[in-house]
């Protein structure tokens, strides 16, 4: 399995730059969570952001998804500089995300949760939606079909009607991924998609992440703690420590970077 994915990654051609972060600095009061960090995300790649606890990884993801507005620096998306945008506007631009502490609609069924991912794609007027006629009906059917494809893809057919609040942790994570995918994002942000999972669940999730990237061509930026997983999955890795960037490159380059070894791997390894 490992060798296969390694070959697959080595063979891949990375596309042009999809997102570029230039000299981002983010402060909370007097604390600098992110210090002057720049990196890019290329089309079609799986980009990992790693680092010890409190390194500023989640803050970085929140900057990309518009939940935090950095005090300094520029965010470029699809070759255009992004102004100060609200999180919901970012979502409409084609950037979907999941959360470290799952944020799902607990009161709704799995199906309804995933459907919310497509809300901003629906155009029919609400009168025709409420009365279920003409374009609204066609739209609903199309959207449902797409959602069903994603449900099949993530193998959650048997829980479609279950209220999300009743699901175990691992499945909730998967539903959250499904909702993000339903938006057909260009860029998918995953905040610790495998945190708190057992080995089997981690393998499943890794497979899904690779398949999403492969089949839908979705660019993925993810934060992950499990080093083995990160090295297997990602094309390129950004390493953060205390809000600074201390490494950037392919998994092999990062693995051999002395500063990274000192800050992170050195502690975790052997």
């Amino acid at each position: 399995m490992n060798t296969q994915t390694d070959i697959a990654i080595a063979d891949r051609q990375l596309g042009g730059t999809l997102m570029e972060l230039r000299n981002i600095t983010l402060r909370f009061g007097g604390v600098e969570a992110i210090k002057n960090i720049s990196f890019d995300i290329r089309e079609g790649e799986i980009r990992a952001i790693i680092g010890p606890n409190g390194a500023g990884k989640s803050s970085m993801l929140n900057v990309i998804s518009g939940f935090y507005v950095p005090q300094e620096g520029e965010v470029w998306f699809r070759g255009e500089r992004r102004g100060p945008v609200k999180p919901y506007e970012v979502a409409r631009l084609g950037i979907a995300r999941t959360f470290q502490n799952i944020a799902l609609f607990d009161g709704m069924s799995v199906l309804d949760n995933i459907m919310t991912g497509r809300l901003h794609r629906m155009k029919a007027g609400f009168l025709s939606q409420a009365l279920w006629w003409g374009p609204a009906e066609r739209e609903e059917i199309e959207n449902r079909a797409q959602v069903e494809r994603i449900i099949d893809f993530l193998e959650i057919q048997n829980i479609r009607k279950t209220p999300v609040g009743r699901l175990p942790y691992g499945l909730k994570k998967r539903v959250e991924l499904a909702r993000a995918l339903a938006a057909e994002p260009q860029l998918l942000l995953l905040d610790e998609p495998m945190a708190g999972m057992n080995v089997e669940e981690k393998e499943d999730m890794s497979r899904f992440v690779l398949d999403v990237n492969d089949e839908f061509g979705t660019t993925i930026a993810l934060i992950e703690h499990d080093m083995g997983v990160v090295m297997d999955l990602s094309d390129r890795v950004v390493v953060m420590d205390y809000g600074r960037k201390i490494g950037d490159g392919s998994p092999d380059e990062v693995r051999n970077n002395q500063e990274v070894i000192d800050a992170y791997l050195g502690v975790a390894h052997d």
Binding site: Y88, A103, A124, A183
Partner: protein
């Protein structure tokens, strides 16, 4: 037999009163579902809507007293009357504007605060609106007539007189209120279940962050929900105003909506209806059968005692979402 027929009439009247309660309770449920806020101002919203409707319809000059006392003028009426349909549309527009202002001036500044803070804000809003209504349209009791039929329904009286030998007394206004409430509820349920905005509304109610991450604008949803609540308040205001005149005690009907909500559950639209009907019928029947034994006037407290019992034995109400606490 006589007793039974009479009880049936009381039952019917209870149902009709219940519809009125349900109308007010609906507004509460809508806002509670969408923002987790118990909107204390809902009753005042109904009053304000009714005042505005009467004012527009009769061509009253808004803030007449204020203007007169500052400029020494004697304005009171523009001297025209506005057709009913247009007046209702204009009053609806005022409610939408109000929703927008509430979001802009109050809610926006309280994002992410505890529900109790938001609740306190709606109490403030209630008194502000009551004062505003007073200053804008004056404090006197007004007649509201939007052309809804009133008075005893002769057809029901004669039919029931034929069947039971006793003519039921049912106000035609109550029948219309029931029909309009049914239409309103059907429309609201269809809206919440099947439309994109309805789904977004439920999503916002559940989790703000998650809603943002799928591209839902909280501001838009809040303005929308308060507009709908304003519209429901307008309908409730029209019904109550037609029945008993537009007066400031109208805002007190909000209090009766509380036990209705405890019965039906704060999160359920069908619950608000069922709760309203149960309270309406319950208090009338209780007054009819038990009232004479204990000295009457039970309608004042019956609803609250029933609500208290529900709080003890079934705090989520009849239809509310189960409160599941995972440890």
């Amino acid at each position: 037999m006589d007793q039974l027929v009479f009880a049936a009439e009381v039952f019917m009247n209870g149902l009709m009163t219940g519809v009125m309660y349900a109308l007010v309770a609906l507004g509460f449920v809508l806002i509670f579902k969408a923002s987790g806020v118990f909107n204390y101002a809902q009753g005042v919203l109904a009053l304000f809507a009714a005042l505005t409707l009467v004012g527009i319809q009769q061509g009253q000059v808004p803030f007449a007293h204020l203007i007169n006392s500052i400029f020494g003028t004697h304005l009171e009426y523009f001297g025209w009357t506005v057709p009913v349909v247009l007046a209702i549309l204009l009053a609806g527009a005022v409610m939408v504007l109000l929703a927008f202002l509430v979001e802009k001036l109050v809610l926006q500044h309280l994002v992410g605060q505890e529900p109790i803070i938001l609740f306190m804000a709606t109490i403030g809003l209630a008194y502000f609106l009551e004062g505003l209504g007073d200053v804008m349209w004056g404090a006197d009791i007004k007649n509201l007539d939007v052309g809804l039929p009133q008075g005893i329904s002769e057809s029901i009286e004669s039919v029931s007189a034929n069947w039971f030998g006793y003519g039921f007394f049912i106000d035609r206004l109550d029948i219309w209120a029931a029909i309009i409430a049914a239409l309103l509820v059907t429309a609201l349920v269809a809206f919440a279940q099947y439309t994109k905005q309805g789904r977004a509304m439920r999503a916002v109610a559940d989790d703000h962050q998650a809603a943002l991450s799928v591209g839902i604008s909280l501001r838009f949803i809040w303005v929308m929900v308060w507009s709908i609540a304003g519209f429901v308040a307008l309908v409730a205001g029209i019904m109550w105003g037609t029945k008993s005149g537009v007066q400031f005690s109208l805002s007190l009907i909000a209090l009766k909506a509380l036990p209705v909500l405890m019965l039906g559950g704060f999160t359920s639209i069908p619950g608000a209806i069922a709760g309203g009907l149960i309270i309406g019928v319950g208090e009338k029947m209780f007054e009819f059968f038990i009232g004479p034994m204990i000295g009457g006037a039970t309608e004042n407290w019956f609803a609250y005692v029933l609500a208290l019992l529900f709080l003890v034995f079934r705090p989520q109400g009849l239809f509310g979402e189960r409160i599941i606490e995972r440890v």
